[in-house]
């Protein structure tokens, strides 16, 4: 399997990359990203090029922000990138600053990533010394500076607008969209915000061209993806795979080193729906997962073996989202709490009472999914709902 994100490069590459950016200019950079069909790797899979173009076309002061909050359960790929390839993120942001015309960038990092934070800070200093950041980058008239900000430890600050609010010193409450960050983002200025992984692709795409990039992956799902594997609550590791070139059972076999028949469910991410064994032969890419009723999300995969309780893990997931709700809208603040309370009681219920309660949980969960104000509430109960569907389909006669 071909790799890109996990391949190293050196400072010479960085210098050539930045020089190339100045040579081809912002128009061409954006065109290249657009042609690459790179999809945002933070989970929402928005076409990166369109975002860049939109910010480029705005006037006035702008910002480039890297979202490295990575607070979701089972997800640790950004940490992996920041630990091993921090220069790719910074390079990607420098390219972005040239492309959209921004002079100030922020990397908003999960506060637990202490080593990565100090590494980033050192690297920024070094870049400044080498005139790759700061005023007049490589003696051009382009200025760009990056500030590293430690997150305040709330999952919801990974939501881009909540992240802006936090940097602005406000409460991390997601804002209503529109206006989108590309129009009014940080400090109400047009803002380009991408995930760590997304930025890490940029140097490769710009240096080698979108055509080269499209050699990875499959149509509409070009490139590679970092996946984080957890099996029965045990972290396995981060792996780079080519999108669409690998099937679920192959991930189970190759990376989790498990026999697929010993696996009872595959959860693509904490905010996705469960996949059961009959779906294990689908391709692992955005498109295929979507067509099979789930989503790739952040790529923080949880694999359940026969010995592990799905239900216990789902309780944890619901509890996590309930605790991390910003508390702003009713369905998310109160609804998640009520769902959590009700699923805790399920163990003690039997037959009709159990069925009725499951019905009630499902009804309430669907309302929460449909009426919550932001993606946190909207996706918090996906795993639970898919689990209940599994029970209804007869896959699980009991709760275990």
């Amino acid at each position: 399997m071909k790799k890109m994100l996990t391949e190293k490069y050196d400072t010479h590459f960085t210098i050539s990359l930045i020089k190339k950016c100045f040579e081809i200019g912002s128009e061409k950079i954006v065109e290249e990203i657009k042609n690459s069909y790179l999809l945002g790797r933070g989970g929402a899979m928005f076409p990166t090029g369109i975002k860049w173009e939109s910010v480029k076309n705005q006037g006035g002061e702008k910002f480039v922000v890297c979202n490295a909050e990575e607070g979701e359960l089972y997800t640790f790929k950004d940490k992996f990138l920041l630990k091993n390839f921090p220069y790719k993120v910074i390079d990607g942001m420098i390219v972005a600053s040239i492309a959209v015309g921004a002079e100030k960038g922020f990397i908003y990092v999960n506060h637990k990533y202490k080593n990565e934070i100090s590494k980033l800070k050192t690297l920024v200093k070094q870049y400044k010394k080498e005139k790759l950041l700061g005023e007049n980058i490589l003696s051009t008239n382009h200025n760009f500076d990056i500030e590293i900000i430690e997150s305040n430890g709330r999952y919801v600050t990974g939501e881009e607008t909540a992240l802006f609010n936090t940097i602005e010193g406000k409460r991390p409450t997601p804002r209503l969209k529109p206006p989108y960050p590309t129009q009014k983002g940080l400090f109400n200025k047009p803002t380009l915000i991408n995930n760590v992984e997304t930025f890490s692709f940029i140097p490769h795409i710009i240096f080698y061209g979108s055509g080269w990039f499209k050699n990875f992956g499959v149509e509409k799902n070009y490139g590679t993806k970092l996946i984080c594997l957890t099996v029965d609550n045990k972290k396995i590791g981060v792996f780079e795979i080519e999108l669409g070139k690998i099937k679920i059972f192959e991930i189970i076999e190759k990376y989790a080193k498990l026999k697929p028949r010993n696996v009872k469910a595959f959860l693509p991410s904490a905010s996705s729906c469960l996949l059961f064994p009959e779906k294990f032969d689908i391709n692992y890419d955005f498109e295929s997962l979507k067509n099979n009723g789930t989503s790739l999300g952040t790529g923080g995969i949880f694999i359940f073996t026969k010995n592990f309780s799905i239900f216990d893990e789902i309780k944890k997931i619901v509890r996590f989202f309930s605790d991390e709700s910003c508390g702003y809208c009713v369905p998310c603040r109160v609804g998640l709490k009520r769902v959590y309370e009700m699923i805790l009681e399920l163990d003690s219920l039997k037959s009709e009472k159990l069925r009725n309660r499951l019905d009630l949980i499902k009804k309430l969960s669907l309302v929460i999914k449909e009426t919550s104000r932001c993606a946190l509430g909207q996706s918090a109960l996906n795993s639970l709902l898919s689990y209940i569907r599994g029970i209804e389909d007869g896959k699980y006669r009991t709760l275990y």
Partner: protein, 896 residues
């Protein structure tokens, strides 16, 4: 605006693009339940109750979703109803079910919707959040167990009031509203405007005053007008057993849209105060004795006749009241002109905006605010605030300015003090005290030199341009930085923004007017508007912000020594002819009378012997009060008509008890020239009488039978006599219309914007008048090195006759204080809470220190509500006779 077509519940609707589904539904009478939504706040979709279904999109919150062409919206499908029920159930699952004893019951929105959606049982009862009561004293109960976290309180505090005293705290199910670091409100930025209480849809935020007093349906709710400042906010007074229980903002009022400030919301305790005057009093040795009205009238009559006989009519003077109604002021001045035959009648407008009147009369012919607050909020692109700390003096106006800035208007603040709105100002400059004329002349000079003036406007509507240019040629613009302390580039920026805006407005108050150069200051502002044509259109003009509830009306009614009602000049024979016919009398006085400060001066000079004061307290409000005290002691006969035995009343020979605005009917005219009805809410105590009735009965003693049976008879006479009020008839006022004068006919809607097309001058043109810069009368020197400046604070009103009797207000600001710059404080080793003695050439004052960055170095600020006027001097502006409250020299000494 572009029109679009959409379908709501299969009905075709045409509406404007840009509106939300909720707005369109409301306009079309389609009911949607809402909890977090408020028309004056930015929608944020918190409660999720206003869900509707949009074809192809599913459930959306109608408060945030904009209408699109051809969309199909459904407001009551099974899915919508079920989702709304679920939301309500979730809220109720975390809400106490103590509606039977809840103060809010009957007005609670949650209760209303629970009933509407038939919610009797919640299937998923669980843990209740642990939110508890928090300290909101002295006025607010913060019962957060009942809080549904709709966020309205947070939004009103941030978006409307701009104070940011509260916010959401914590996360998830533990989320709650917190203030500061979760402290009592008193320790935070909270200004106790009470708008959070106003806007709370449930019983979480309540008024302390109403706790345990009754159920909402037991209260009589009476619409009237706030008795405090010139904004004239609409209020609903909740009354039970002849007691005011609480006051709420009137959402139907176009003036305040339901919002209030600390005084309007909470400061009504004085009405029931035990020391209200209840019977007429007569001086007996060093005390007073209660007497009957008949005795009181007889005593006044005898003394008035005696004094007129001995010293003539001009030895009598009267002070009318900006607190009293139009009708009362009208009758008061009529008494002095018709019965006594003197024009010595004035009121406290002399002390606040007489220089605006003098200045604008000369230049544009009318001194009333040229625009409405609504225009400023909706249309002005550039708002210049100068000499007004509007968040303190007219808080509700500051809310409107905040919304204007949110809309995109550029706010420019020109004030030596750092004022509260500067957080949203586009540009703030802080010139030296008393340099306004130089500063505004500089802006005018830039406008001229850089050809920013509006040639067409000047050609058509302005006179004296050439002479003005000639004067400006010589203007020493290069001295501007030396004199005003402001860089010329900043003034250039102001000149450009002001002249290039579509509509720019200038608002000012006492910082401009209370100077010996007050009239010149105003003229220099007027010059800017005339040069650039920023007047006579929507959102553009000159707006003196009036101080008291009816100061505009008192002026309109002719409580001025120089003008009869309707601003007919005294020294004009046509005026006298008109009023002799109107009032069917002869021998009306045709010489200008004396102004407030001149009246006290004349008492000391033996020219005034009889003084009648209705609802004013000059012993606190007038400059150099030692001087006033001497006069009050000296005057031969003093009558004071008031609701309390004020500092002034204590010197009276006769004290007459009158009613406060909650106890009578009448009209007030607000700062925007809007005539509004006040209603009787409670019965007045004792034998008090309406002010107009007292004057009418006194006139009867002199044989004048004025046929006034109610205030409506007086208003009818005003309709006939005052052309601006002609169409503001009793019927229209009773119907609740809030008409802005001039209103020349009964079917006229009133006039929102003044000076469209022509000015109210003889030539119908505006006049540019050259004004030379002069220094203030008393500048700091070696002996008195500080500038003393006085002003208002939002908690107190005028001489504290009313607010001083409200316990909660005293808890917040119960003591006089001075503001001093941190550098000066450091030099003098002063701390917050230290005491100092401030002394001037007139007197001295022991006072508590508050250190504040908002005040310039070398300046001391003292609120005028207490005893600041022991220090001020009584030198007057030549034209308007306004005293210079804003600048005098003083020194301070630390008290050890």
């Amino acid at each position: 605006m572009e029109n679009i077509e959409l379908f709501i519940d299969n009905k075709k609707i045409v509406t404007e693009k840009g509106k939300t589904i909720l707005q369109v539904c409301k306009e079309n009478g389609i009911h949607i339940p809402t909890l977090c939504y408020h028309p004056e706040l930015k929608p944020d979709g918190l409660c999720r109750l206003c869900l509707v279904e949009v074809e192809g999109k599913g459930l959306v919150t109608s408060c945030t979703e904009k209408v699109l062409t051809q969309i199909k919206v459904f407001t009551n499908t099974k899915k919508v109803i079920e989702a709304r029920k679920t939301i309500l159930k979730l809220i109720i699952s975390d809400h106490p079910l103590d509606c039977m004893t809840c103060e809010k019951s009957g007005e609670c929105l949650l209760e209303k919707y629970a009933y509407e959606y038939g919610i009797k049982k919640v299937e998923y009862e669980g843990e209740r959040s642990k939110r508890k009561q928090k300290d909101g004293s002295p006025f607010i109960i913060r019962d957060y167990e009942k809080c549904i976290l709709c966020g309205r309180c947070v939004k009103v505090c941030n978006e409307i009031v701009g104070v940011n005293a509260i916010d959401f705290g914590f996360r998830g199910f533990k989320t709650e509203i917190i203030s500061g670091f979760d402290e009592p409100l008193k320790k935070t930025e909270c200004v106790f405007c009470g708008n959070c209480v106003e806007i709370c849809p449930v019983g979480a935020l309540r008024e302390v005053s109403a706790e345990g007093k009754g159920r909402s349906w037991e209260y009589k709710k009476i619409k009237t007008i706030c008795p405090y400042c010139g904004v004239g906010c609409g209020i609903n007074v909740y009354v039970k057993n002849n007691q005011i229980i609480k006051i709420k903002g009137d959402e139907e009022s176009c003036v305040n849209k339901g919002f209030l400030c600390i005084k309007g919301k909470f400061a009504f305790e004085y009405v029931n105060s035990s020391d209200r005057l209840k019977k007429p009093l007569r001086r007996k040795n060093n005390d007073f004795e209660e007497i009957s009205w008949e005795e009181a009238f007889e005593t006044i009559y005898e003394n008035l006749v005696r004094i007129i006989k001995k010293y003539g009519s001009t030895s009598v003077a009267g002070l009318a009241s900006a607190k009293c109604t139009n009708e009362e002021n009208y009758v008061f001045q009529k008494f002095f002109r018709v019965v006594v035959k003197t024009n010595n009648v004035d009121h406290c407008a002399r002390l606040c905006h007489s220089s605006s009147i003098a200045g604008l009369s000369k230049t544009i012919g009318s001194a009333a605010m040229s625009n409405s607050l609504e225009e400023i909020e909706k249309y002005s692109d550039c708002i210049i605030l100068t000499g007004t700390n509007v968040s303190e003096t007219q808080p509700v106006t500051s809310y409107r300015i905040r919304k204007a800035v949110e809309r995109g208007a550029k706010l420019i603040i020109i004030d030596p003090m750092e004022i509260s709105l500067s957080d949203i100002a586009y540009l703030t400059i802080r010139p030296n005290y008393g340099t306004d004329v130089f500063l505004f002349n500089t802006i005018a000079k830039i406008i001229i030199d850089e050809k920013l003036y509006n040639e067409e406007f000047i050609k058509e509507r302005v006179e004296n341009f050439d002479e003005y240019l000639k004067f400006m040629e010589e203007f020493p613009i290069n001295d501007v930085e030396k004199i005003t302390g402001v860089e010329i580039d900043k003034l250039r920026e102001i000149a450009y923004i002001y002249s290039k805006s579509n509509s720019a407005v200038i608002l000012w108050a006492m910082g401009i007017t209370q100077h010996t150069t007050g009239t010149d200051n105003v003229v220099s502002l007027s010059n800017l508007a005339l040069l650039t044509g920023q007047i006579g259109k929507k959102g553009a003009g000159l707006c003196p912000l009036r101080g008291q509830n009816n100061v505009q009306g008192a002026c309109d009614m002719g409580a001025l020594p120089t003008h009869y009602p309707g601003y007919f000049p005294v020294e004009d024979e046509n005026t006298i002819k008109k009023f002799e016919i109107d009032w069917q009398t002869t021998g009306l006085p045709d010489k200008n009378g004396l102004t407030v400060v001149e009246i006290f001066e004349s008492i000391l000079n033996d020219k005034i012997k009889f003084l009648y004061i209705m609802g004013e307290n000059p012993l606190v409000s007038d400059p150099d009060i030692k001087h006033v005290e001497e006069a009050l002691k000296k005057v031969d006969f003093l009558v004071v008509q008031d609701i309390f035995l004020t500092e002034t009343a204590k010197y009276a020979d006769i004290v007459l008890p009158s009613k406060c605005s909650f106890e009578k009917k009448g009209t007030f005219t607000n700062t925007e020239r809007r005539v509004q009805k006040i209603s009787k809410c409670v019965e007045a105590p004792g034998e008090t009488k309406d002010d107009w009735e007292i004057i009418k009965l006194l006139a009867e003693k002199f044989g004048y039978k004025w046929n006034y049976n109610s205030i409506w008879d007086i208003l009818k006479e005003i309709n006939n006599v005052v052309p601006q009020y002609k169409g503001i008839t009793p019927q229209r006022v009773k119907n609740g219309e809030r008409i802005q004068w001039p209103c020349p006919q009964e079917n006229h809607p009133g006039t929102e914007t003044l000076h469209i097309g022509s000015f109210k001058t003889k030539s119908n043109k505006g006049k540019l008048i050259a004004v030379e810069f002069k220094h203030a009368y008393e500048l700091p020197d070696k002996e008195y090195p500080f500038v003393l400046t006085t002003g208002r604070i939002r908690e107190h009103y005028h001489t504290r006759t009313m607010t001083g009797r409200v316990e909660g207000i005293s808890e917040i600001v119960g003591e006089d204080f001075c503001l001093i710059n941190p550098d000066d404080a450091k030099k003098m080793k002063l701390k917050n809470g230290s005491y100092v003695k401030i002394f001037s050439r007139r007197g001295e004052l022991k006072i508590k220190v508050k250190i504040s960055d908002n005040i310039k170095k070398g300046v001391i600020f003292v609120p005028f509500h207490f005893y600041a006027n022991l220090l001020t001097h009584n030198k007057l502006d030549l034209y308007s006779k306004i005293p210079e409250y804003k600048i005098c020299a003083c020194n301070i000494k630390k008290i050890l």
